[in-house]
Symmetry: C2
Subunit: 336 residues, 2 copies
């Protein structure tokens, strides 16, 4: 057997691969709080009355600069969001850079500037780092690994397994922009307009909604898109999720590109989106608050959690119902 691109595509193939080749084979996976087994956005351990949340991500996006961002912005936003959706306040990152020999300083400086800007905006420290260089041709330009550290009160983390029947599902804006922007940036097909990646740190937005209350779970729908994230919710919480397909925000040009490429926008990566499962009594207040934040102005309630077999059901405007199948892999390789 050999590793294929699908094993890194964020869908069912990745999930199986990680379960069989890592989780089943590693004995020590827990320090008593959130463990590797849970395959959540991060894991945690207790220190006194606090809970420290950690997460890690390697970034291999191609191209490294794309409309709306670059690999540096992606690395910070992705990591920060993974911590924030666990209900913790991100406080620090570590960052490890692997360069291809010959990589231009000019490019590096742009990337470091993106990183610095975002760390500044989010009030997050870069605590530790590492740099390696490999021979020309032995890596594709640059790879950045970022690990994130966040903190919250003990027991206050939010897990994918905590959705409750009756919850409303909210998303903060329009989907599939990161994946399509990266695809367009590769220049492999003709497209006149511009699609910008949604890559953004969601710390302030999440701070805002946490103040309202009623949030049972959050997740950033990256590789594998919205549908993959919803399936993780459904399976871990053992609930059915019904989605009002027409209410999912999507920009026209994004839909156009997805149709052109023959891919389902529900399975395309986002890098500035969060889905929330919110107690129905709080849902309207959460929505209102989100819409006041620039990263949530197009927020919508897009579905509801029901009791039932763990799957995602799409409901059309005229009441049609269809089972939405979890993606085997993100249709676009190397988008993060």
């Amino acid at each position: 057997m050999k590793v294929s691109l699908a094993h890194g595509g964020g869908g069912e193939a990745t999930k199986d691969f990680i379960k069989k080749e890592f989780i089943e084979k590693i004995k020590r996976k827990s320090l008593g709080a959130i463990s590797l087994d849970e395959m959540d956005d991060g894991a945690s351990f207790f220190v006194g009355n606090k809970e420290v949340v950690v997460t890690t991500d390697s970034h291999t996006v191609r191209p490294i600069f794309f409309p709306g961002g670059d690999i540096g912005k992606l690395a910070i936003a992705g990591t920060v969001n993974d911590i924030a959706v666990m209900g913790a306040r991100p406080i620090a990152i570590t960052s490890s850079f692997i360069f291809e020999e010959g990589f231009e300083f000019e490019k590096l400086r742009k990337i470091v500037k993106s990183i610095d800007d975002l760390l500044e905006k989010c009030n997050i420290a870069m605590l530790a780092g590492d740099t390696k260089v490999v021979e020309r041709g032995k890596i594709d330009e640059i790879v950045i690994n970022t690990s994130g550290i966040g903190i919250c009160d003990r027991g206050k983390t939010l897990k994918d397994s905590c959705l409750r029947p009756g919850d409303k599902i909210i998303i903060n804006g329009s989907i599939a922009e990161h994946g399509t922007a990266v695809m367009v940036a590769r220049g492999e097909f003709e497209f006149e307009g511009e699609v910008k990646s949604d890559v953004a740190p969601l710390v302030t937005l999440i701070d805002d909604v946490m103040d309202i209350g009623g949030i049972h779970a959050m997740k950033d729908p990256t590789r594998g898109g919205l549908l993959s994230a919803l399936y993780e919710f459904a399976e871990k919480s053992e609930v059915k999720i019904e989605i009002y397909e027409e209410d999912i925000p999507i920009k026209e040009e994004v839909l156009y590109i997805c149709e052109l490429l023959g891919i389902d926008p529900l399975c395309v990566a986002n890098e500035g989106k969060v889905i929330l499962s919110v107690d129905s009594e709080y849902a309207e207040d959460v929505l209102k608050k989100m819409r006041k934040n620039k990263f949530g102005k197009d927020a919508e309630i897009i579905g509801e959690v029901k009791e039932g077999r763990a799957r995602v059901i799409g409901i059309t405007e005229i009441g049609g119902r269809r089972i939405l199948r979890p993606p085997y892999a993100d249709p676009l390789p190397r988008i993060c």
Copy 2:
């Protein structure tokens, strides 16, 4: 300007590169404890009366299997040692894998087994992970990033800047084995014998000596070798270090290979070595205790800390003195 292999070689070139391109450009580098600026083996932050130490490393060794170890063992040992030399107890790692499409499962399973064995031995949890796959030819087989997390009482971390004149410098065994083993494994020159990498986790050894007391600083001399690590000690603590050159343990076959390649074994990477700066009153007890641990059986006192300009002086058996110059880069690329 372009990134060169020397920028990742762990010596003066790497230090300058990191200072100018990262440290001077990133504004937020501290949470009030040990910061990125200090360029120590790791950094830290406080949680109540505890101090959490973090570190990160990407591993790009070629070949990925070599006598004495593999990239998995290297990733865990390297990270665990970075935490332990800060005076903290390693408790968890995060691990991120990037595969080249087509990487054999058989190889992966060997690597994961190495990782699992070491985590088990050291009682360390793998808390979080990530997997990415890139197209064939876009990365050299596999890259593993590991971030480490350790914990100690607040204010009890050991820093490179804490050497004191009068301290003895101790090393736990013979040098330059990792770098030479990896070079031999590449098969680029003829050598009949076998050199094994010293790659090993030093948690138990460091636990042992911490019990004795009198330890002011520790460091694992990896990229850039013993000499690079001694220079970091000398510069950060603003002291002179005198080294008794004949007392530095080195195996004959390692010395032979270094001579064959025309490189200085003092600058070749180790992955199972630690140097300690120890109060002279405790030095003999620390040495005795180290020698009882299998990772310290060849331990020696190899030098002394003196007041004076920050540099490393080599003293020969017949009393000759020479200034040892810090290496510009590790003479061997991609050894970790």
